[in-house]
Symmetry: C2
Subunit: 209 residues, 2 copies
C-alpha cells in the first residue's frame, strides 16, 4: 500500500473522512505541521536573492535549512502515526486466553503505548519549532508574502494542539506513570504560553498587511 | 496543469514551499479547512451504525451530510485561491501606457480584488461552520475517536484565521470602501468569540480522553 504522502490530496481527504481508523487526527496534525514548515520555506524562498532583503539573506538561508528539515520530519510523521496505530491495534489483537498470553499481550500493549506517546510528542515538538521559526519569517521575510508566515503560525498551532490530544490519549493508558508523567510534563512545557506567542506572531503579520 | 487536489500530498507540500507564488497560504488554509470537515465526517462514519450510539444516529447522519458538503466546498477553494491569484497577477500585468489603458487596468484590478476578497471570506465562513459542527461531533460522537473532533476544531480554527489574513490583504487594496468595509465587518462577525468557542470545544474533547 502506498504511503499517504504519495496519495493525492483529494484521496488523503477521502481516507481521512472514511470509516477507516487511519489516517486520522494524528496524520492530519502532521500534514498541518508540514504545511506550516512549507510556508516558512516559501517565505524564505521568496526573500532570498532579492536585493531589498540582502541584509537578512544569510538569516533566511539558515531559516530555510531549518524549515526544510522540519518539513521532512513532519512529513515522515504522517506515516509514523499510521504505523504506530497499526502496531497498537495489532497488540490489542494478541491472544489473551492463558495467563502467559495475557502477560505477553499486556507487556506488548504497554511498549507500543509508549511509542504511541512519543510519536505525537515529537510532532508537538516539531510544531513548536515551526511556530518559533514563523516569527523570524514574519519579522524579517519579504513583506509581499508575509501573510504566508501568518498561515504558517496558525497551521503550526493547529498541529501542535492536535498532536497534544494524541499524547494525552496514549499517555493516559500507560501503567509506567513515571514515563507518562515525564512525557506529559514535556508537553506542558511546549504548550506553556503558546497562545500568547501565536497571537503575537499573528499580530506582527497583520500589522504588516 | 493538474489541480492541486489531484497532486500527491508530498508534491503539494513541495509546491507550497517553493518560490512559486501559488499554491500559497490561501490554498493551505483551504486544505486545513477540508481536513477539519473530513475529520468531522470520520467521527460521524465511526459513530453511525454502532448500537451504543443509536440515540444520536439521525443527528450524526445529518452532521455527516453537512460536513461532506463543507469538505467539497473547501476542497474546491484550494483551486479557487490559485485561480483568483492568477487573475489578479494577470490584471496587474495589463498594459498601462495610455490613460485609457491605465483606466482599464485599474478597473480590472479592482474587480478582481473584490473576487480575491470573497474567496477567502467564503473559506472563513465555511471554516466557522466546521468549527460549529466539530462541537456536535465532540459532544455526541463515538468517544473512541473523539480526539479527531478535537483535531477538526483546531484545523478549522487554523484555517479560519489563515483565511482572514487573505481577506485583510485584498480588502485593504479595494477603492470601493463601502464594499470592503462590509466584507471586513462580515469577517469580524465570524471571528468574534471564536477563540472562546474553539477552547470550549477543545476542552470538551480533552475531558473525554
Amino acid at each position: 500500500m502506498s504511503e499517504i504522502k504519495d496519495k493525492s490530496v483529494d484521496v488523503f481527504l477521502d481516507e481521512l473522512a472514511s470509516r477507516q481508523a487511519t489516517p486520522g487526527g494524528g496524520s492530519a496534525a502532521a500534514v498541518m505541521g508540514a504545511q506550516s514548515a512549507a510556508l516558512i520555506s516559501m517565505v524564505c524562498n521568496l526573500t532570498i536573492g532579492k536585493p531589498k532583503y540582502a541584509e537578512v539573506e544569510a538569516e533566511m538561508q539558515e531559516l530555510l535549512l531549518k524549515s526544510e528539515e522540519l518539513r521532512q520530519q513532519l512529513t515522515a510523521m504522517i506515516k509514523a502515526d499510521v504505523d504506530v496505530f497499526d502496531k497498537l491495534m495489532a497488540s490489542y489483537g494478541l491472544a489473551k486466553e492463558t495467563d502467559e498470553e495475557k502477560a505477553i499481550r499486556s507487556a506488548q500493549i504497554q511498549t507500543i503505548l509508549k511509542e504511541a506517546t512519543l510519536v505525537p510528542l515529537d510532532c508537538a515538538k516539531a510544531c513548536a519549532q515551526t511556530i518559533a521559526l514563523s516569527r523570524v519569517a514574519a519579522e524579517k521575510g519579504n513583506t509581499g508574502v508575509i501573510s504566508d508566515a501568518g498561515v504558517a503560525v496558525m497551521a503550526g498551532y493547529g498541529a501542535l494542539k492536535s498532536a497534544a490530544l494524541n499524547v494525552y490519549i496514549n499517555a493516559g493508558s500507560i501503567k509506567d506513570r513515571a514515563f507518562a508523567d515525564e512525557k506529559l510534563a514535556e508537553l506542558e512545557v511546549i504548550l506553556s504560553g503558546v497562545e500568547v506567542e501565536v497571537e503575537e506572531i499573528y499580530q506582527i503579520v497583520k500589522n504588516k498587511l
